[in-house]
């Protein structure tokens, strides 16, 4: 049955039925507060049941309190069809071929009336309609793998993506772009860094912090940067491409294992941690910052390792954490644990027996640091040495989320603790680096004169 009362429930639905009014009716409503007229819009399902939404002739939306309604009359009907104009994506001989995989997220999207939420729009035609500049960069193909929000991405999606990427590379694609929500973009980037190895082409993950239904969205520029990097850069790594500064100036290419979302809403939210980014990217060019990266190759060989053990936990330690937190993981059959410890990689004493119990149960426990920057150093204090004797394994400067992904991936391949340890501690994609450059850690403090001078001169 067609729902003609989209999103309405309770009292509001009763009122619509009583006066025989449907959504998209051009209606005149008499209320105790005066007369209102306009088009009845669908109502967001999360909103209350006491109001009807009306689009006035001036374009504004208002809500009418149903308890004030005296009468309603339909004088017309005007259903909206909301569609991004679809134009055929033009093919240009000689331009690099780029594949865009869609996973959901807000990279290209439109508004959904019912929930008031943003829903993705994706086909090459739609993308070309919204960002025609893409055609100047590459010949684009798209494939919608799933339509999930970032927070719902998980092992199944990682594996599907890795396999799909492998197929494209074997077919001879020049670059891969993955559109993705930003919340867990760095988890997926880490997963693909391990699951897709020795890629001959760039693999770029991209999202946007402002949905593309907003005029100052970062989506279009991010997409152009990502397409440029995928089509033209010689950096054959798995990378995240997002705004460098919050200004519409350039994007940064971050190594997929060394990057993290650091602000809940800023455009320039992704930062490389413990290193410098791989490169800057504009619509015109890619400027490498690091030189030690895998170069683009002409062959079509790639190693796809789509494995993942789901019973892995990432535990963020806090003072006074009770050991039952760890015991519950043992009891629930977890196969591996990553702890984000304080300082150099510490937890409190009461946890020791629980960690020892993990060792006895054959559950590897890896230590990372919640400071994010810096290495785990477990020999500096007794605490660290005690923990190591309990069987905890430090993971150098691997980021906590990366260690979690890598442990799941390693345990997906083997349950032999020694084998897992070998995988964990062997750097695959700069997940562990031997050196931390002096400029790998920069957090400026606003208000300090020299910083104020800097941000006044340089676009933030």
């Amino acid at each position: 049955m067609i729902d003609i009362f989209k999103g309405y429930k309770g009292k509001a639905l009763e009122a619509l039925k009583k006066f025989n009014i449907r959504v998209w009716s051009d209606a005149q409503i008499a209320t105790t507060r005066g007369k209102f007229s306009g088009i009845i819009l669908p109502r967001s399902e999360n909103d209350d049941e006491f109001h009807i939404v009306l689009k006035l002739i001036t374009g504004y939306n208002v809500g009418i309190d149903v308890s004030t309604i005296e009468s309603m009359q339909e004088i017309g009907y005007k259903e909206a069809h909301y569609k991004i104009p679809e134009k055929e994506f033009p093919y240009t001989e000689g331009k690099p071929k780029v594949k865009l995989f869609g996973t959901g997220g807000t990279i290209a999207s439109r508004l959904d009336y019912r929930t008031g939420a943003v829903i993705p729009a994706f086909s090459p035609g739609e993308l070309y309609g919204a960002v025609p500049e893409l055609a100047d960069i590459c010949n684009l193909e798209t494939e919608k793998l799933f339509a999930v929000f970032s927070e719902n991405m998980g092992p199944e999606q990682y594996k599907t993506l890795a396999i799909a990427i492998g197929k494209e590379i074997e077919k001879g694609i020049d670059g891969i772009v993955i559109g993705h929500g930003t919340d867990t973009l760095h988890h997926t980037a880490a997963a693909l860094s391990f699951m897709v190895q020795n890629s001959p082409v760039p693999i770029i993950l991209v999202g946007s912090q402002r949905s593309s239904d907003r005029p100052s969205s970062d989506a279009a520029l991010n997409l152009m940067h990502a397409a440029t990097a995928a089509a033209k850069s010689d950096i054959a790594e798995t990378m995240i491409c997002m705004f460098g500064p919050t200004s519409d100036e350039y994007g940064l290419l971050h190594q997929g294992t060394r990057v993290r979302k650091m602000h809940s809403s800023y455009r320039s939210t992704f930062r490389t941690i413990g290193d410098v980014p791989l490169a800057t990217v504009t619509r015109e060019k890619i400027t490498p910052i690091r030189s030690n990266y895998n170069k683009r190759r002409d062959d079509k060989t790639v190693k796809i390792l789509p494995y993942f053990e789901e019973k892995v936990a990432l535990v963020y330690y806090y003072p006074n954490m009770q050991p039952d937190m760890i015991y519950s993981l043992i009891d629930n059959g977890y196969k591996g644990i990553v702890i984000a410890g304080t300082g150099l990689g510490h937890v409190n004493k009461p946890l020791y027996p629980a960690i020892r119990a993990c060792q006895q149960a054959g559950i590897p426990v890896y230590m990372t640091v919640q400071t994010l920057w810096g290495y785990v150093h477990m020999f500096v204090y007794d605490t660290g040495r005690d923990l190591m004797s309990c069987g905890i394994i430090p993971t150098e400067n691997m980021l906590p989320e990366v260690a979690y992904i890598k442990l799941g991936w390693a345990l997906g391949q083997t349950s032999d603790p020694e084998e897992v340890k070998k995988i964990m501690l062997t750097p695959i994609s700069n997940d562990i680096t031997k050196r931390e450059p002096y400029n790998g850690y920069l957090i400026y403090q606003g208000g300090v004169p020299e910083v104020e001078e800097f941000i006044k001169k340089v676009h933030k």
Partner: protein, 664 residues
């Protein structure tokens, strides 16, 4: 082309053809003939402590060159919920503007620059807006829906203004009619523009986000004076709530004007109500001019759809041009593009507004849409031609132009040429249609220039970052308790007090009704005196003298109370007020010292009349009693002021002179 074309003469004759008359000479019937109608959108900042969607302070302004950081955004058009792109949006996209925001830490947080979603709507602002909506007798909505209204000019970093309808319908009283209100919305104020040069537009973010109400009227006004009157009335109503900000930029008007056969033109950012009559008058005649141009063109061109301008790059030698803009353009390696506009002779120099011609419409669009700084073109109907005869001949040859045609030449960088050519063609084609829909910017001389294409309802989107806010009956009722009297009631009260009509504006504009009521009730002051004391005496002083801080109108109550306590007659009040206005912190006692007041009783004053008479008679032989009276009063005024009513003194002196005269 004809080199003897007399542009000045053409301007004058077309002005006559349009029937342009100055506003002073225009009568109501002239506007009737034009079919003049006009509506207003009045913007008024609310006097809240914080901004509408974040906790930044309100009313702290920065200078354009004082900032802590800059950031850059570009704006792209997006789809409306009805599935189309808005015309303005597309135009702004064409301009390829780089928008620079200058930020001061004290007035701007991450919300203003769109790096943080909105915080919950400022409830103080909502309450004030509902209060004013009640004053307009509106139908208040059941639920507030925050809507995004797109602005791609960069004036808001998100690319849209968050706005919500508070109430619809309603009315305001004018002297001779009632004007209907369409709606009142609560919205965030926009950025202030610092500059707009080439492809870079710069804004400050200090004003951005200040709560603003917009009151929109129906196009019920039929003369320029009525439009101004409606503007005043809305201002009075806003101010009567006591919840609005005053001062420069706190209240601004957009004025919509159209005439029969014309179209709705929105004149934006009129910061003085006194500008409105001239602006709307000129706009009406601009539309009339464009309609005449349309008729003229259609009579010349059989098939407008097939009309096409010709563009050719000028390659011939222009090195001896002594015209700076072209010289600079050549130095920058820009291109010089000549254009032939078939059948456009006499159109380029056709009157549009006082001192403005049709070519100006092209020039401003080239600036706004293609980003070419002005002057950006010369043309065949320039009052002061730039090209010499030889060049003109070369140009005519290049373009293969005919006698009935007009030509122009513009200069631009390679990347701007296409947009510039499109812009010229588009605007010329619009001339076949009459009056293009657009928003125009008000200039202080009463004319306007193109600002952007008039946006449609298509630019409205629901704001996905905010939930609707229910407005319950109880809430409205609680606000209704605080609402001041309606304007109609206030006007009736002023009439009842017998206050002269010329005092109304000052009293209402400065929201003095409650102060006056208090003085009349508690100090038993004659309302008529009080009305003129405010609207004549105080207004005169405010116009004549400077004050370091805005005048506190409550001081008048204190002043009158002081005078009553000290048995001072009210004649002394203007002299005291003059001092108080200039030195607001001064004690009243010191004011008296400063104006050299001394206390005398009535007899002591009157005693002087006799001696003054004898002195007068000693120094003059005039037997003119009027002169004698005047001289005596002049001498007594300083000691009488505040001690006895001057009117009484004057009567006594006159009486004495008369008695004397009668005895002679």
């Amino acid at each position: 082309m004809s080199m003897k074309f007399d542009a000045k003469k053409n301007y004058e004759s077309t002005q006559k053809k349009v029937g342009y008359i100055s506003r002073k000479k225009a009568k109501k019937s002239d506007y009737e003939k034009l079919g003049f109608i006009s509506g207003l959108e009045v913007h008024q900042q609310l006097a809240t402590k914080e901004k509408l969607f974040c906790h930044c302070p309100v009313g702290v302004y920065q200078k354009g060159d004082s900032y802590d950081a800059e950031l850059i955004r570009h704006m792209r058009p997006t789809l409306s919920e009805m599935g189309t792109y808005d015309g303005t949006a597309l135009m702004e996209f064409k301009t390829r503007k780089q928008i620079v925001y200058r930020i001061k830490n004290v007035t701007t947080c991450t919300y203003e620059v769109d790096d943080t979603p909105p915080f919950p709507l400022n409830r103080e602002a909502l309450e004030y807006a509902i209060e004013i909506s009640l004053l307009l007798q509106q139908n208040i909505v059941g639920e507030l829906h925050i809507t995004r209204k797109q602005y791609l000019d960069g004036s808001i970093p998100t690319g849209f203004q968050r706005t919500a309808i508070i109430g619809i319908e309603g009315e305001i009283p004018l002297k001779n009619k009632t004007v209907r209100i369409i709606q009142l919305s609560l919205e965030e104020d926009s950025c202030r523009e610092v500059s707009d040069i080439g492809h870079v537009r710069t804004y400050t973010t200090d004003r951005l986000g200040i709560p603003l109400i917009e009151t929109v009227t129906y196009p019920d006004m039929v003369t320029p004076d009525e439009v101004a009157e409606a503007g005043q009335v809305i201002r009075f109503i806003n101010r009567s709530s006591n919840k609005v900000r005053v001062g420069i930029g706190a209240g601004r008007e957009d004025v919509n004007v159209s005439i029969t056969g014309g179209t709705r033109i929105e004149i934006k950012g009129v910061s003085h109500i006194s500008w409105i009559p001239e602006l709307t008058h000129n706009e009406a005649f601009r539309q009339k001019s464009l309609l005449i141009i349309k008729d003229e063109l259609l009579s010349r061109i059989e098939n407008p759809a097939a009309w096409k301008p010709v563009f050719k790059e000028i390659k011939f030698d222009v090195s001896d041009i002594e015209y700076e803009p072209i010289k600079t353009a050549m130095e920058n390696k820009w291109h010089l593009i000549a254009c032939n506009l078939p059948h456009f002779q006499g159109i380029l120099s056709h009157f549009t507004q006082p001192g403005k011609i049709f070519a100006d419409e092209l020039e401003v669009r080239l600036k706004v849409i293609a980003g070419l700084e002005r002057p950006n073109m010369v043309h065949s109907e320039d009052m002061n031609p730039v090209f010499n005869e030889e060049m003109l001949a070369a140009r005519s040859k290049l373009l293969a132009s005919h006698a009935q045609d007009a030509q122009l030449v513009f200069w631009a960088a390679e990347e701007d040429i296409k947009t510039a050519m499109d812009t010229i063609e588009e605007r010329c084609r619009m001339a076949f249609e009459g009056v293009p829909k657009e928003t125009r910017k008000a200039l202080s001389d009463g004319t306007t220039i193109f600002e952007r294409v008039l946006p449609g309802a298509d630019r409205m989107y629901p704001d996905t970052d905010s939930a609707p806010i229910p407005i319950r009956d109880e809430y409205i009722e609680s606000i209704r308790q605080k609402v001041p009297e309606s304007l109609a009631k206030r006007l009736a009260q002023l009439k009842k007090w017998q206050i002269p009509e010329d005092c109304y504006t000052f009293i209402l504009r400065n929201n003095l009704m409650s102060s006056m009521e208090k003085i009349i009730k508690e100090l038993k002051v004659d309302p008529k005196f009080l009305g003129t004391f405010f609207a004549h005496t105080l207004k005169h002083i405010m116009g004549q003298y400077a004050s370091a801080i805005p005048f506190d109108f409550n001081k008048i109550y204190d002043l009158i109370a002081y005078a009553q306590q000290n048995h001072l007659t009210f004649d002394i009040l203007p002299d005291m007020l003059k001092v108080i206005y200039q030195q607001p912190r001064i004690e009243f006692d010191s004011v008296l010292n400063l104006i050299e007041f001394e206390e005398y009783n009535k007899n002591a004053i009157l005693k002087n009349i006799k001696s003054l008479r004898s002195i007068f008679n000693g120094i003059t032989h005039s037997r003119n009693p009027q002169a004698e009276w005047k001289w005596i009063m002049g001498n007594l005024r300083s000691i009488a002021l505040g001690n006895m009513p001057l009117r009484e003194l004057s009567q006594i002196v006159a009486q004495e002179l008369k008695e004397e005269g009668g005895a002679q």
